[in-house]
């Protein structure tokens, strides 16, 4: 029973969501909107589990004074401070402590993490773009042409490069994306079907 009921819920949930797509009637629209809302709400609840897990993970470290426990303490402090600021000091208004911490602490770190990509994209390009084989050469040439073709200096160096780079993006690039997209579509469809039909049930724990 403990297995059958979840499998039944999955089946019904999946089939209802597929059928509603074909029914424009209002009832079907409401089910659709309702399910999306419910998913969001459940997502809100489980954040409690997430925070619980995070807190246990770090308090354990602090308690046992494991290596790096000081940093765990910093994480816990950050969490508690931010939560208190948000829940008791004026909520999410832009001039209140919660949003101030968000603007001056969370945002800059976020933007900087994002900007690390500029460095990593360079080091990845340097290491990976070697003409080791025919395929690697294709990768390398396409990357260089587009990279140069996208900036004004590219046209100064060799003006046709802009045209070639646009052509690469519009044709071979788009074509391959389409093939991958179709493959992904089919793979995802069959996996979704296996889930709905209960053929794929490893997410319930165990393969048997």
């Amino acid at each position: 029973m403990r297995r059958q009921i979840p499998l039944a819920i999955t089946f019904i949930g999946g089939v209802v969501m597929i059928i509603q797509y074909f029914i424009p009637h209002q009832i079907s629209q409401e089910i659709y909107r309702g399910v999306l809302d419910w998913q969001m709400i459940v997502g809100g609840f489980v954040l409690v589990l997430g925070i619980g897990s995070l807190v246990t993970h770090h308090t354990e470290k602090v308690k046992r004074q494991k290596e790096g426990w000081g940093y765990s303490l910093v994480a816990l402090l950050g969490l508690v401070m931010m939560a208190i600021a948000g829940l008791f000091f004026g909520g999410m208004a832009s001039d209140k402590p919660f949003m101030q911490i968000f603007i001056y602490a969370q945002n800059p770190i976020q933007a900087t993490m994002f900007s690390l990509l500029a460095f990593f994209i360079a080091s990845a390009a340097y290491r990976a773009f070697r003409a080791r084989s025919f395929i690697a050469t294709l990768l390398l040439l396409a990357a260089i042409i587009v990279m140069i073709g996208r900036v004004p200096i590219g046209a100064k160096i060799w003006s046709p490069i802009r045209v070639i780079s646009n052509w690469l993006l519009d044709y071979p690039n788009m074509v391959a994306k389409r093939a991958i997209g179709l493959g992904v579509g089919l793979g995802m469809l069959s996996t979704a079907l296996k889930i709905i039909l209960g053929i794929e049930r490893s997410y319930l724990g165990g393969g048997k």
Partner: protein, 280 residues
């Protein structure tokens, strides 16, 4: 030989330093680069340029501080362009942080003498309606009634008290929509509802990464123009003959690209030299 072997196993930190240098140095020693605006950028410029004085434009911002370096220059460019042409601007956003960043863009614009002297007034020449959650649903509901969707502006002022909003009922009273977006919800939602359903002409700006996904809308003329990434922003500044971070950042952008390409070329030379040496 030793040099090339060294190059093959180059410490990545050397690459990091050179990239940082390529970005920072041109910020201090700017040089002049001629822009070649893409047809997509030109399209957006032409569309705004053609709007008659006194028309009302919605500018929507779907971006956050992370993506602001790319989108903010477009926003500033659009505000300047509209103000110069005497167009009334309604700002809003479908991302929580969009309208706040739009506010910052306004501040930037008014720092310049030209716009300070125009003495534009909040509520009369421009308003900021703020953020509304719901993505595409918000746009749909604006099609029915803008005052019902946004009963107050960002600061909480009832919309009836804003002279600009008098006589604005729905999209029929809006001449044009400019959407600057860094992801979802964003331009596709605007195209689907504001353009396809309520027939408002529109153009958009987006991050460089998402531009290829929006190109199809240009081909089908659902968008009159599209600014893609910092290059798009620079194009727009070039076309409107105003200075801004787009053009200003372009040298850094160009040099950084060159540095990466030079590294790749050196890497390949080293690779071939070393492989030849090993074959012997």
């Amino acid at each position: 030989m030793g040099f090339f072997r060294g190059m093959l196993n180059l410490d990545r930190r050397i690459i990091f330093i050179l990239i940082a240098g390529a970005v920072v140095v041109p910020l201090f020693i700017p040089f002049h680069l001629k822009m070649h605006p893409t047809p997509a950028s030109q399209g957006l410029y032409n569309a705004v340029e053609k709007l008659p004085e006194g028309s009302t434009v919605i500018i929507s911002g779907e971006y956050d501080p992370g993506t602001a370096p790319e989108i903010q220059p477009m926003m500033i460019g659009a505000l300047k362009h509209c103000f110069r042409k005497g167009i009334k601007v309604i700002l809003m956003g479908l991302w929580p942080q969009g309208p706040a960043l739009e506010g910052q863009a306004l501040q930037e614009v008014f720092k310049e003498k030209e716009f300070k002297e125009m003495n534009l007034q909040y509520g009369k020449d421009y308003v900021n309606l703020g953020y509304k959650a719901g993505g595409a649903v918000v746009i749909q509901s604006m099609g029915t009634s803008i005052p019902a969707t946004f009963p107050t502006d960002m600061a909480g002022t009832p919309i009836e008290k804003l002279p600009l909003m008098k006589g604005i009922r729905n999209f029929n009273d809006i001449t044009f929509v400019l959407d600057f977006s860094a992801g979802d919800p964003g331009t596709p939602a605007w195209v689907m509802f504001a353009h396809d359903r309520f027939h408002v002409p529109m153009a958009a700006g987006c991050t460089a990464v998402s531009a290829p996904m929006l190109y199809p809308y240009l081909q089908t003329k659902q968008l009159s123009g599209l600014l893609g990434g910092l290059k798009g922003a620079a194009d727009y500044e070039w076309l409107t003959k105003s200075s801004g971070t787009g053009i200003r950042y372009m040298p850094s952008q160009s040099i950084a690209h060159l540095v990466i390409v030079i590294f790749i070329i050196i890497g390949n030379i080293a690779f071939f030299v070393v492989r030849k040496g090993e074959k012997r």
